[in-house]
Amino acid sequence: MGKFFAIVLTVITLVSASIFAMHTWWMPVDISVHGPALDKQFGETLMGTGFGFLVAQLSLAYFLWKFADKGDGRKVREFPGGPKVTIITAVVLVGLEILALSFVGQKAWASVNLDPAPPNAMHIDVQAEQFAFYFRYAGPDGQFGTIHPEKINDGSGNYFGLDPENDIPARDDIVVGSLTIPVNQPILLTIHSKDVGHSIYVRELRIQQDFVPGIVIPVHFTATQTGKFEIVCTQLCGLGHYNMKAYLEVLPQDQFDQWLKSQAGQ
C-alpha cells in the first residue's frame, strides 16, 4: 500500500508541476509598462513554491515507499537532527523567500498603486453599473461635467447624470461604451460605481481594481501595444455579472486623435 501511495503521489506531483512548467495555460502577453515587473515576480514565486511543492511531495512519497510496517518488529526512528532541522529549514527558507518577495513585490505594487499617475496622463472617467461600463472623455475643454446622481437616467442615455443645460463643462463630455486609448500614453482612469460593487479586469494590462460605491478610485497604466482586448467585471454584481464586459482598443496616436475628433463631432 505504501509503494502504491508513493507512485500515485509521485505521478500527481510530476503531472501537476509539468503543466505549470510547460505553460499549457498561461497569462496572455503583457501589454503594459508595469506588467513585466509583476510577471517577473510571478516567475520567482513559481520557482520558489514549485521547489517546495516538489521537495515536500516527493519526500513524502519516498518515505511512504520506504517506511511501511512490515510486521518485522523494526524500531521506529526519529528524523535525523530532530525538529530543529525542520524548524530551521522552514524559518530560513520560507523567511528568505518572504524577504525577497516582499522587497521585490513592494516595488511592483508601488508602481501601480502608490506612485501617482504622471502629470501628462490622459484622464478618462469610468462608471460601472449593473451590467455595463461607461467611459467618459473630457472633450475639447479638458474638463468633466459634474455628476448629479438624481439626473442619472439610462433610458435617455444620461448614464453619468450630467446637466448640460446648466453645467458648461458637461456639454462636450464624450460618453462611450468602450475604452479607446492611444498607445504609449499614460492613462489615468478615475473609477466609480453607480449602484453596487464591480471590478475592472484587463488581463493583458495586468490591471484589476474594484469599483467601490461611494469612492472614486484612481487607476493608471500605459499600454505598449496596439490591439483590441476584453474588459470584464470580476466583482459579483448581480445576475448579469457573467455578461458584464467592454472592449479596450489601443490605437496609434494619430488614429486615436481621429477617433476622438469623430466622437466629439457627434
Binding site: T49, G52, A56, L101, Q130, R206, Q208
Partner: protein, 592 residues
C-alpha cells in the same frame, strides 16, 4: 491551575429516560456531538449536490438537468439554470459548506464527542448550554435552507454577501430582499450557537481535566479544539454585530453599509453616509480566522491519527505543534486585509497585510515539515484513517503553497477573483478539512458506534477521492492563470470560451469523485448497523477514548475516575506490551 480530580468526577445530570430526552434534547455531549455530525452530513450532502448542479451547468450551459425545474420553476425553467439561480445556488453552496460543514463537524461534532473523553471528563462543563448551542445552530441551518423555498429564492450575493449588493434589497437583484434577510438572520443565529459552543469548549478544557491530565499531556486534538474555540469566540463576536447592522440596513432604514448617491433602475436610493468597505472589514476580520477555525481541528485530528498510523509521536511533539497552532491563531487576526488588496482600501495597508500573511506560512510550513518528518522512520499502518491523514498532508501542502501567490498584493492584481483563488481555498480549507473529517470518521467510528467501517470500501473511497480532488482543483489553478473569472454562470467572453473543455474535465472529475462520496455514505450507514463489532482499542492507540468500551457508557468512564500518568503518544515504545503505553497505564517504563 487548581487540582481538578474531585470536580471532574461530579456528573451534572442523571441518565435521561425516554426517546425525546435520550436522542433529541439530550444533554449528553456524545449525543450532541453526533447531532452536530449528522447536521453537517445533511449540509454537506446538500452542498455537494448544489456543486454538481453548478459544475454541470458550467460545462454544458445549454443542457437541461432532468427534474431540476421541480426545485424552482423560475430558477430552472425546463431544467436549465438561469444566471441568477446559478448565483443563488453558489451562495447556498458556499454558506452551507463554510458554516455548517467546515465550522461544524470538525469542531462542534468531533470536539463535542471526544474532547471531554480525551481529558477524562464525564461531560462538557455546561451541558444545557451545549444542547442549546446545537439547537440554535439547527435553527440557523433550517433558516438558511428555507431560502430555497421562498418565492424569490436564496440571495445571489455569494457567501461573503458584499454590501451594498447585499444591503439594497430586491431592487439590486433576485433573492436580495427576503432571501438576503433570511440569510443574514441564519448567519447571525449560527454566530450565537458558535459563541456558546466556544465558551463551553474553553471552560471544559481548562476546568474538567482529570488528575494527571496536565496541559502538556493533552492530546493534539484537545489543543486544536481549544485554540479553535478561542478563535471562534473572538471572530464570531465580530460577525454577529455585522449581521445585526446588515439586517438593520434592510429593515431599519439605516445606512451602515450603503453610501449616498446610489442609483438603481434610475431611482436614487434613500441612503447616505455608509461605507461598503466597513462590511468587508468586519466580514474578513471574522472571515480569515474562520479559515483557521475550519482547518485547525483538521490539523489536530491529522496529527492525532498520524501518530497512531506512524507508531510514533509527531516530530517535535506537542510543544512545536501547539506553538505553531497558537502562532497561526494569533497571526490569523492580523491578515484579513489580504482579501481586500484590490478592494480600494488604502494601498499602503495592502503592504502591511501582506507581511503577516507571508509570515503565517512559517508555522504552517513547520507543521507540514514535521508531519513529513514523522513519516520518516515510521512503521506506517495503511488503514483508511491513516490514508486520509497522509492525504491531508499532501493536499494541505499543495493548497498552502498557492497561498504564497495570493499573499502578494502585486500578484493578486492578476489572480484576484480568478479560479486560481477558487482552486487555492478549496484545496486548503475545503479538501484538507474534509480529509480531516474523513480521517476522523474512519478513526473514531468504532468508538462512536461500536462497529468498524468496511476497510475495502474505505480504501476505494480514499483512492478515488485523493486522485479526484487533484483532478478537480489543480486545473482550476491553470485556468485561473489564463484569467478565468470566478462566479460566472456562463463563459461568454472570447478568451473564456476556449477554456470550457477544461471545465468539462473538472465536471467529470467532480462527478466521479462525488460517486465515491456516495460509497462513503453507504459504508457509513451500513456499518452503523452491520459493521464488524469494534473492540475497545482497534487502532492500538494511547489516548483516553481508547480506554473505555465502544461505544462508551453514558458517563464515559463508568464511574471510574481516570488518572493520567503518561504523555499522549507513547507509541513505538520498546518493552511495552504491544508497542504502546496507554495514557492512564500506571506501569512505569524506562522510557517514560
Amino acid at each position: 491551575m487548581h487540582d481538578t480530580s474531585d470536580q471532574a468526577a461530579v456528573h451534572h445530570h442523571a441518565p435521561p429516560k425516554g426517546f425525546l430526552w435520550t436522542h433529541v434534547f439530550s444533554l449528553d455531549h456524545k449525543v450532541i456531538g453526533k447531532q452536530y455530525y449528522f447536521l453537517s452530513l445533511a449540509a454537506v450532502v446538500i452542498g455537494m449536490v448544489l456543486s454538481w448542479i453548478m459544475r454541470f451547468h458550467l460545462a454544458w450551459a445549454a443542457a437541461a438537468i432532468p427534474g431540476l425545474q421541480h426545485l424552482s420553476q423560475v430558477g430552472a425553467p425546463g431544467g436549465i439554470l438561469t444566471p441568477e439561480y446559478y448565483l443563488s445556488l453558489l451562495t447556498l453552496h458556499g454558506t452551507l459548506m463554510v458554516f455548517f460543514v467546515l465550522t461544524t463537524a470538525p469542531q462542534a461534532g468531533f470536539g463535542n464527542y471526544f474532547l471531554p473523553i480525551q481529558i477524562g471528563a464525564e461531560d462538557m462543563a455546561f451541558p444545557r448550554l451545549n444542547m442549546l448551542s446545537f439547537w440554535v445552530t439547527f435553527v440557523g441551518f433550517v433558516t438558511l435552507v428555507s431560502t430555497l423555498f421562498i418565492s424569490d429564492g436564496p440571495p445571489i450575493s455569494g457567501w461573503t454577501a458584499y454590501a451594498p449588493l447585499s444591503a439594497l434589497g430586491s431592487d439590486a437583484g433576485p433573492g436580495l430582499g427576503r432571501g438576503q434577510i433570511l440569510w443574514v438572520i441564519s448567519i447571525g443565529i449560527f454566530c450565537i450557537g458558535s459563541l456558546l459552543g466556544a465558551l463551553n469548549f474553553i471552560a471544559t478544557t481548562l476546568d474538567l481535566r482529570c488528575k494527571g491530565m496536565t496541559l502538556a499531556r493533552m492530546p493534539y486534538t484537545v489543543w486544536a479544539w481549544f485554540i479553535t474555540a478561542v478563535l471562534g469566540l473572538l471572530a464570531f463576536a465580530v460577525l454577529l454585530p455585522a449581521c445585526v447592522l446588515l439586517v438593520l440596513d434592510h429593515v431599519g432604514g439605516t445606512s451602515f453599509f450603503i453610501p449616498g448617491g446610489l442609483v438603481l433602475s434610475d431611482k436614487l436610493q434613500p441612503h447616505s453616509g455608509g461605507s461598503t468597505l466597513l462590511w468587508q472589514h468586519m466580514f474578513w476580520f471574522f472571515g480569515h480566522p474562520e479559515v483557521y477555525i475550519a482547518i485547525i481541528p483538521g490539523i489536530g485530528i491529522t496529527s492525532h491519527i498520524l501518530a497512531s498510523t506512524a507508531r510514533k509521536p509527531l516530530l517535535g511533539g506537542s510543544r512545536v505543534l501547539v506553538g505553531c497552532m497558537v502562532a497561526i491563531a494569533f497571526l490569523s487576526f492580523t491578515v484579513w486585509g489580504h482579501h481586500m488588496f484590490i478592494s480600494g482600501m488604502n494601498p499602503f495597508s495592502s503592504l502591511l497585510f501582506s507581511v503577516p500573511t507571508l509570515i503565517i506560512t512559517i508555522p504552517a510550513s513547520i507543521i507540514s515539515l514535521n508531519w513529513i518528518g514523522t513519516v520518516f522512520g515510521a512503521r506506517l499502518r495503511f488503514h483508511t484513517p491513516g490514508l486520509f491523514a497522509i492525504g491531508f498532508i499532501s493536499v494541505f501542502v499543495t493548497g498552502g503553497l498557492s497561498g504564497f501567490f495570493l499573499a502578494q498584493p502585486s500578484l493578486d492584481i492578476y489572480l484576484h477573483a480568478t479560479y486560481f483563488v477558487v482552486g487555492h481555498f478549496h484545496m486548503v480549507m475545503g479538501v484538507a478539512a474534509i480529509f480531516g473529517m474523513f480521517a476522523g470518521t474512519y478513526f473514531w467510528f468504532p468508538k462512536m458506534f461500536g462497529r468498524m467501517m468496511n476497510e475495502t470500501l474505505g480504501k476505494i473511497h480514499f483512492w478515488v477521492t485523493f486522485v479526484g480532488v487533484y483532478c478537480i482543483f489543480m486545473p482550476m489553478h491553470y485556468i485561473g492563470l489564463a484569467g478565468n473569472v470566478r462566479r460566472y454562470s456562463a463563459f461568454v467572453d472570447d478568451y473564456l470560451i476556449p477554456l470550457i473543455p477544461v471545465h468539462k474535465f473538472i465536471t467529470i472529475a467532480a462527478f466521479v469523485t462525488g460517486a465515491a462520496q456516495l460509497l462513503f455514505l453507504c459504508n457509513l450507514f451500513w456499518s452503523m448497523y452491520r459493521g464488524k463489532k469494534a473492540e475497545e482499542n482497534p487502532w492500538d492507540s494511547t489516548t483516553l477514548e481508547w480506554t473505555i468500551p465502544s461505544p462508551p457508557p453514558f458517563d464515559n468512564f463508568g464511574g471510574r475516575h481516570p488518572i493520567v500518568y503518561h504523555d499522549p503518544y507513547e507509541l513505538g515504545v520498546e518493552g511495552a506490551k504491544g508497542d504502546y503505553v496507554m495514557q492512564d497505564s500506571p506501569e512505569k517504563l524506562a522510557q517514560s
